[in-house]
C-alpha cells in the first residue's frame, strides 16, 4: 500500500535541500515562534505563574506551534504551488505510486521539515533559557502533530481553488489553535465551555504531551487521541488525492 513512498519522500527532500539555502525560506518558519518566545518570555516571564516557570512553559508551546505551522503551511503551500504555479503535481499523479504512498511520502517530508524547525527552536530555548530535554510523550506528540498537520496540508493544498483560500484556513483553524490551545497559557484558564472544546484540539493534545514527564493514563489517552486525529488527517489527504482532477 505504501510502496514507493520513499521515491516521493526523496523528491520532496531534494527540493527542501535545494530551498534551504535561501535564508528567507529557512527563517520564515522560525520567525514567528522566535518572536513569540522572546516577546512573551521577556514581557510576561515573571508575571505568569505556571509550574516549572513561564519560559519553559512558553518554549514548549512554541515547539508545538512551530511543528504545526511548518508541517501545515509549508506542505500546503508546496502542494498548491505544484498545482497552480509549477504545474508538476501531475508528474506525481501520473506515476505508478498509490495515492496512500503519495500522501505518506509528502507528509513524511513535511514532518522532517517541521521537526527540523522545532529542533532549531529547541536548541535556542535550551541555549538561552535552559529548556530541559523533552520527555518521550513530548517527542511522540511532536512527531504525530507534525505528520497530522503535514497530511492536512496535502489535503488543503489539493482542495483550495486559489492561494487566497489558503488564508481562510490559516485564519479560522491555525491562528485560533495557536493562541487558545495551551501554548501561551494553560487551557485550564479558559472559560469552562470553551475549555471543553479546546482540550480536544490537536495542538492542545500536543501541549499536554509536551508537559508530561512520562506516559501515564492521561498522556496515553492524549497520545491515542492525537494518533486517531493523525490517521484521520492522513485518510483525508488520501481521499483528496484520490479525487484529484486536472482541468
Amino acid at each position: 500500500m505504501l510502496r514507493g513512498f520513499s521515491a516521493v519522500f526523496y523528491r520532496e527532500m531534494q527540493m527542501l535541500i535545494s530551498r534551504i539555502g535561501g535564508l528567507g525560506y529557512l527563517f520564515s518558519g522560525l520567525l514567528f515562534p522566535m518572536i513569540y518566545l522572546l516577546a512573551f518570555g521577556w514581557g510576561l516571564g515573571d508575571r505568569v505563574a505556571v509550574a516549572g516557570g513561564y519560559f519553559a512553559y512558553l518554549a514548549k508551546g512554541m515547539l508545538a506551534i512551530t511543528v504545526m505551522m511548518n508541517g501545515f503551511q509549508q506542505t500546503a503551500l508546496s502542494v498548491s504551488a505544484a498545482r497552480f504555479y509549477y504545474r508538476n503535481f501531475s508528474t506525481l499523479r501520473l506515476s505508478p505510486i498509490s495515492d496512500s504512498a503519495l500522501v505518506f511520502g509528502i507528509a513524511l517530508a513535511g514532518t522532517v521539515r517541521a521537526l527540523a524547525a522545532a529542533a532549531v527552536i529547541f536548541l535556542t530555548a535550551r541555549l538561552f533559557f535552559g529548556l530541559e530535554i523533552l520527555s518521550l510523550p513530548g517527542l511522540g506528540g511532536l512527531v504525530l502533530t507534525a505528520f497530522a498537520f503535514a497530511a492536512f496540508g496535502v489535503a488543503v493544498g489539493l482542495s483550495i481553488k486559489g492561494q487566497e483560500q489558503f488564508s481562510i484556513i490559516i485564519n479560522f483553524f491555525i491562528t485560533p489553535m495557536t493562541f487558545f490551545c495551551g501554548s501561551f497559557f494553560p487551557v485550564a484558564n479558559l472559560p469552562e465551555a470553551v475549555r471543553q472544546v479546546v482540550q480536544f484540539l490537536p495542538l492542545s493534545l500536543t501541549n499536554q504531551l509536551l508537559r508530561a514527564d512520562s506516559f501515564g493514563e492521561s498522556s496515553l489517552w492524549e497520545a491515542g487521541l492525537l494518533l486517531a486525529i493523525t490517521l484521520c488527517t492522513y485518510a483525508y489527504g488520501v481521499y483528496r488525492v484520490h479525487g484529484y482532477r486536472e482541468f
Binding site: 521515491a7 516521493v8 501531475s90 501520473l94 506515476s95
Partner: protein
C-alpha cells in the same frame, strides 16, 4: 488498437468541452490532434492521461481503462504537457532521478545518464531548467517522459514556440520514437508538423470530432476539385461553411 476513445463527453461548470468523441489510434501510429483554440484538444489529452475523468464514455489504452488509473495503465503512458513542469529548484538530472525513482527503475542513475545521452541533453543535465532554451527544455521533457520506456506517448503541442531548427530536431526525435514502435498522439497548431509526422489526424472543433483520416484525404474531402494546403483545410474546417454543415 492502442488507444480507444468511445463516445466521450466531458463538461465543466455546465459547459460542454467534449461531445460524443470517438477515436482510435493504432499501435505504432503517430496521430495528430488538430483544431482551433478551445476545441478540446488539451482536455482530451488530460482524459487520455487519467488526469481528468469523462462524464460519459470510456477511454482505454492497450485495454486499460484511463479512468481507473491502474498501475499498469500508468506504466504504459508518457505525457509531455504544454508547459515546462520540471522542478525549478532541481537540475535536470536531479529531476530525472526523482522521476526514475517514482517509476521504480532498477538503476536510476545509469538509466538517467543513458536517456540524457540518447536525447543529446547530456551536457545540459547539470543545469536547472531556467538556464535551458525552450528547445532544450522540450527535448528534456520528452526524454523524461521516455525514461520509463512507455508504449504510448502523449504530447501537448510539443514544438510550440520553438524556432524552425529546434522544431525539426523535435520532429526527428519523434520520428525515432515512432520507428521504435511507440504509439504517439500529439496536439499541434502547425500544419507542417502534422504533415511531417502524423500518419493520420483527427480534427476537433467546439468539442466535436469533425474528421479522422490522413492529411491528404482531408484536403481532398474539403476541396475535391482543386488542391488546397492543409492550412487552408484547417481554416475551412475551423470557420468555413463546411464547418457549419458538419458541425
Amino acid at each position: 488498437m492502442s488507444i480507444v476513445v468511445e463516445n466521450v463527453n466531458c463538461s465543466r461548470k455546465g459547459r460542454s468541452i467534449l461531445h460524443n468523441v470517438s477515436l482510435q489510434v493504432l499501435a505504432g501510429e503517430v496521430m495528430g490532434l488538430l483544431g482551433p483554440n478551445g476545441a478540446g484538444k488539451t482536455t482530451l489529452i488530460r482524459l487520455l492521461s487519467g488526469l481528468a475523468r469523462p462524464d460519459k464514455g470510456q477511454i482505454t489504452i492497450q485495454g486499460e481503462d484511463a479512468a481507473a488509473r491502474s498501475v499498469a495503465f500508468r506504466r504504459l503512458l508518457g505525457l509531455v504537457p504544454q508547459e515546462n513542469n520540471f522542478e525549478s529548484e532541481l537540475t535536470i538530472e536531479q529531476s530525472m532521478l526523482c522521476y526514475a525513482r517514482l517509476y521504480g527503475l532498477p538503476e536510476p542513475a545509469g538509466q538517467v545518464k543513458a536517456i540524457c545521452e540518447r536525447f543529446r541533453i547530456g551536457e545540459w543535465r547539470q543545469k536547472k531548467p531556467d538556464k535551458l532554451s525552450g528547445g532544450m527544455k522540450r527535448r528534456a521533457m520528452i526524454a523524461r517522459a521516455m525514461l520509463p520506456d512507455p508504449q504510448v506517448l502523449l504530447l501537448d503541442e510539443p514544438s510550440v514556440g520553438l524556432d524552425p531548427d529546434m522544431r525539426q530536431e523535435i520532429w526527428q526525435l519523434l520520428k525515432g520514437l515512432q520507428a521504435e514502435g511507440k504509439t504517439i498522439l500529439l496536439t499541434t497548431h502547425y500544419m507542417e508538423e502534422a504533415e511531417a509526422l502524423c500518419s493520420r489526424i483527427a480534427f476537433l472543433r467546439g468539442g466535436q470530432l469533425l474528421y479522422t483520416g490522413t492529411c491528404a484525404d482531408m484536403r481532398h474531402w474539403l476541396s475535391p476539385q482543386k488542391a488546397i494546403s492543409l492550412e487552408d483545410a484547417f481554416v475551412e474546417l475551423s470557420h468555413g461553411q463546411l464547418a457549419q454543415e458538419v458541425g
